[in-house]
């Protein structure tokens, strides 16, 4: 009986087109969108060259320190090139700023720098920072001038060389794996794991007497319900494994996503996550008394909301919930899976990973116990 029901559950599942879409196609479509939208995002957040203008008046041309510094910082051969500079007159600089072609412009009057920006921002702060630093150097020159009692030109060169030579190198001990966009892909795998819930729910629905004629027949048949339910769930899990396999092949082989974590443990987490999905489907399937369509709608809504809270539509959401409403994410299976992947990716020790595996196992146990009690207690005088 076990094998018989297992085989026919598989057949039923593979004939449900709507289910096949959600479990097989939807994660692949989402992965494609992620890949398209996030291709450039981390590069865009790195420091890049800033477009500025400098009013090319006599004062600027005569001030060697300003001229030399901006020349160096806009030199194409300089690895740390910071600016693209347009040397022009004040009116043109104003026009460039209005047309948003530049972030700001610099003008020297009476040896005092004046910066004009349209609004506040990080680029504007960096421009101000550079001008301030030139001013620091000017002060240093004048203080050294007193010390050295020698000619200004030679001090200029000496100080410039001296200041540049004393670049500070700070020892960065942060983990190299800092690409937070990877969380989006983790949430996608988590969502796919939870879609196992839709699969198991469909297989459970067909054993429920109040939903289908098939359910009525199964219920009155002289077969142990536990065998029917267990074989149905096992068939759902097998379908889920195929889904996951397809998703991993697509992510790794087609989109070339680099996860940078232990593949064996990733697979383990995906398997436990899928079991959690199956358990969630069992829970919703047995506790929610509604039509099959409404149940599917509720299951998808729960999965999408869980994925949202674990960062699918914006990685910041996961962090904010983790930080401010930690309990909500501690009971959210989508987050347990996502957080497990995050722990593998970012943390060098595995304690957080095992904590998430443990949480998922507890979730599975609770869901299975509650559902079994509900199914075991169901009695019908007439259906």
């Amino acid at each position: 009986m076990f094998l018989h029901n297992f085989k026919y559950t598989l057949k039923t599942l593979f004939r449900n087109r709507s289910l096949l879409f959600w479990t097989f196609a939807f994660p692949l479509i989402m992965a494609t969108f992620f890949h398209m939208a996030f291709a450039d995002i981390t590069e865009d957040e790195q420091l890049k060259t800033i477009d500025i203008a400098i009013v090319n008046n006599n004062e600027f041309n005569n001030n060697m320190l300003y001229k030399q510094t901006f020349n160096t910082l806009s030199d194409d051969n300089n690895e740390d090139k910071l600016f693209n500079i347009t040397y022009t007159d004040r009116e043109d600089a104003k026009k460039l700023l209005e047309d948003k072609k530049i972030e700001g412009y610099l003008e020297l009057n009476n040896n005092t720098p004046k910066l004009t920006f349209q609004s506040n921002g990080i680029n504007q702060t960096i421009i101000k920072y550079v001008v301030d630093e030139i001013h620091d150097t000017e002060k240093m020159i004048s203080s050294m001038k007193t010390d050295m009692k020698s000619g200004m030109n030679s001090i200029n060169t000496n100080v410039c060389n001296y200041v540049e030579a004393k670049e500070i190198e700070l020892k960065d001990t942060a983990n190299d794996n800092l690409n937070y966009i990877i969380i989006e892909y983790f949430t996608l795998i988590a969502m796919t794991c939870l879609y196992a819930g839709s699969v198991s729910m469909v297989s459970i629905n067909k054993t429920l007497p109040y939903l289908t004629g098939k359910g009525k027949r199964v219920t009155v048949a002289p077969t142990k319900r536990s065998i029917i339910i267990f074989s149905s769930l096992l068939a759902s899990f097998l379908v889920q494994l195929l889904t996951l396999g397809l998703l991993f092949v697509y992510l790794l082989g087609v989109l070339n996503v680099e996860f940078g974590c232990n593949v064996g443990l990733m697979v383990l987490l995906s398997l436990v996550g899928s079991l959690a999905g199956v358990a969630l489907g069992l829970l919703v399937g047995t506790f929610v008394k509604a039509t099959e369509n409404s149940k599917t709608g509720i299951m998808i809504a729960i999965t999408m909301a869980g994925s949202f809270l674990s960062g699918m539509m914006g990685v910041g959401m996961k962090y904010q919930i983790d930080k401010n409403l930690p309990l909500l994410n501690k009971i959210n299976p989508a987050n347990m899976i996502t957080d497990g992947f995050y722990a593998l990716y970012y943390y060098t020790d595995y304690s957080r990973f095992w904590f998430n595996i443990g949480s998922l196992l507890i979730f599975i146990s609770i869901a299975v116990i509650l559902s079994s009690r509900k199914i075991g207690r169901a009695r019908y005088d007439s259906i």
């Binding site: 990080i122 504007q124 702060t125 101000k128 240093m140 998808i300």
Partner: protein, 382 residues
Amino acid sequence: MTVFKTFLKILRKNLVIVIIFSILLVMFAALRSETDDKTMSFNAVKPDVVIINNDEEIGITKGLIDYIKDNSNTPEVKTDVDSLNDALFYNDTDYIIYIPKGFNQDFMNGNIDNLEVKKGNNYNASFAEMMISRYLKLAVNYRSRVTSQDELVRTIKNSLDNNTEIEITTKLDTDKVEAAQFFFDFETYSLLVSLVFIIGLMLSIFNDPKVKKRTIISSTDYRKNNRILLLANMLYAFTLWLIYLILGIVLIGDVLWTSNGLLFILNSFIHLITVTSFAFFIGNLINNKDSMSGITHVISIGTCFLCGVFVPLAYLPDSVIALGHALPTYYYVEGNSFIAKLEEINFDTLQPVLINMGVLLGSAIVFIILSNIISKKRRRIG
């Protein structure tokens, strides 16, 4: 009335989906609506820096800490290792600096190698490093020419005391306008899911051949039924938009009553017309109510990823932007970004906004025409 009652019945049954996606909008908007007060002077961007000091807060250590605190924000983060690592990963802090025990003495003896940092992976982190290096560079340069740590701190402070004159030309409260822009952009997702799903479902149920046959042979005028259905859908769309607008007013506040804010509202209303007509088109095109949920999610998530709702347009690769141009929502999101930058309202400055609104209305007309063609073709049922 029967049609309207049926409409309400179906809506009530599926209201949970609308509520879930409306809550998502509120959560997202609430996260982004906290902004500082309006200032028209220059405000340096302050990176978020966490200082973990194990040294006595005296001399150069105190000078460095004071300088960092003056030039950065201190995020509210727990200082255990995991919380700090999480904060760095999720950009809640850009930079962490660990000052070791005995740093002030070691520094004066010529050693700064024991300073450790953790640098995030973003623009602000690079800036935080520039800022801290600036202080240390000055400290190293002045170190041999002073007699005490206090003198060193004073000399650095004096050197850093710059008052570069800065003029800011904008008259906009950019923080609040950006919060409003974010709200109206993200509204797209909730509207798309709620409208395409419900209207699509409604039409596919009413267009079901069995229901349609009964409607045609009933005593009520078929065209009147259609008119009521159309009105009920429009009323639903308008009510939802109005609820979102009220949420926006509560979450974002005053900025919506400025000319930029009113333009956001107008743009959002025109977008509502486009999305509603699009939902009609989908409802007429797809006759299978079981597949409506899948289609809705693919359309709404796809649109939001390709049109700059989930990822700002500035971060999207050119190929995606080119693809986004084919979707009306792109013109809505781009319109919002134009509105956010409008300094003064006149025909010239409004032109790009009006062009985008025109594209949205044009798309709505195209969807209505297509819906009519499909509906006409499907009127004959066997």
